[in-house]
Symmetry: C2
Subunit: 238 residues, 2 copies
DNA sequence: AATCATCTGTTCGATTATAGAACACATGCC
DNA sequence: GGCATGTGTTCTATAATCGAACAGATGATT
């Protein structure tokens, strides 16, 4: 019997892994699920899902609506607050400064397996129809300027050693020489992005980036502002 | 401390409960922890903590820095994104409107056991020294206008039935008649708050609130704006 | 109105995942 | 060199977990 179908990684702790999968399924679901639906999505017996569910409910990681359906709970917000709390305090002022002076949405995203996870975001003040990138949103590491910037912090050898199976983008070498990465229409159609690598607590490669519809400034100037902000954030993080 | 100490609720699933406790400890810790420290805080053997830790690491719920120390990971941000994603889209515009017209920080907080958990926040545009209330932050349900507003949505009987052991504040009855709750210096010294009850997805009682240092407007006008915004948010949520 | 269908919640014995000790290895300090 | 600290691995008895079977609740169907 295969504990986890699909990816062949056997987690050391089965029960815990199942509980986390339940949370992942709930987070991906756009609407509350019945216990039976959740159990089916997890591929386990209903009673197993039920016991796991109760435990998660005890910790407020999920809540149940009137119909008994299940959805993510406020405890997750509490746990997520611990993610780079230092980063928030250090990066928020700089992100606000960037967003307002450039009139672009600014954010920090970190590398996570095959994806890029946004952690902190700031939208510009005069928010007409600006691009919003909420914390917790993801996109493939292979797409977009942040991913290229993260790759550009390593050589091709380091990358293939750290991320076997994920191809090293040619733009990364270019970005390394130039100092910043750029992308157009990669993650969201019609949206462009500029990014520079940044080191954040935890040691995971990350990127500081802005997104925009139409560029009003010279990309080199924008990149210079990004690089300066990244340096200030890093120095404040120690 | 043993899991059964303090609150006498034995979680149905031990391993999962321990894993969550590990995350809670990490979220509360202000700095990365060694595995030994984490095991000590959890009250379990190091090898147990190690196995749990590895599983959490597989799901990116925690990451380890160069020294092997442990801290919350980006996966938590991904999971937390699922918490009231609908609420975000419905409430953010209204919160922004409130924050900018009133020049106060606006937020939505939900009732969770003995606490009030902030989920969505918006700071006013002209952010001089405004009060920031980040998502995921908590305060006791017994303190502050949001807690009073949540209590004011129920009668005293309903409250004592739903929250045995937590006293029903006299201000709640008053707030119920008046339509809004107010507090001064309760959660943060020097900070006042106004709040109205609001119903959010998941069925948990919640509050829509603003915080401020000095009031420039009549509290009744502010409360009216809050009530109108709450109604619009609720109607958009369906 | 009665029946059926669907889902939640509980109980219990067999099984198996887990607990925790003991050990091997790496690193920094005296 | 030796000691201290901490990480990572292996192994077996134990106890937590699995999953079936059952009971109760709720709502749809004929």
């Amino acid at each position: 019997m295969t504990p986890t179908a699909g990816s062949a990684q056997a987690s050391p702790s089965q029960t815990l892994s199942r509980g986390i999968r339940a949370l992942e399924i709930l987070a991906d679901a756009q609407h509350p699920l019945t216990i039976a639906e959740l159990a089916d999505a997890m591929g386990v017996h209903r009673s197993v899902a039920y016991r796991i569910l109760r435990t998660l409910e005890d910790h407020s990681l999920l809540v149940r609506d009137d119909g008994g359906r299940v959805q993510p709970g406020p405890g997750l917000a509490v746990l997520a607050r611990g993610v780079s709390r230092n980063l928030q305090t250090a990066a928020l002022p700089e992100l606000t400064q960037l967003a307002n002076t450039l009139t672009m949405s600014a954010f920090v995203a970190v590398w996570d397996h095959e994806e890029c996870v946004t952690l902190v975001t700031v939208d510009p003040r005069h928010t007409g129809a600006t691009v919003v990138q909420h914390p917790g949103s993801r996109h493939p590491i292979s797409a977009g300027a942040p991913g290229i910037a993260i790759q550009s912090a390593m050589s091709e050898q380091e990358w293939t050693a750290a991320a076997p199976g994920i191809p090293y983008r040619a733009e990364a070498a270019e970005a390394r020489l130039r100092g910043y990465a750029a992308s157009h229409d990669e993650v969201i159609s019609g949206v462009s992005s500029l990014a520079v690598p940044i080191r954040v607590p935890g040691g995971r490669p990350a990127a500081l980036a802005v997104v925009y519809i139409r560029a009003a400034q010279d990309p080199r100037e924008v990149a210079a502002a990004l690089a300066a902000a990244a340096e200030r954030i890093e120095s404040q993080l120690g």
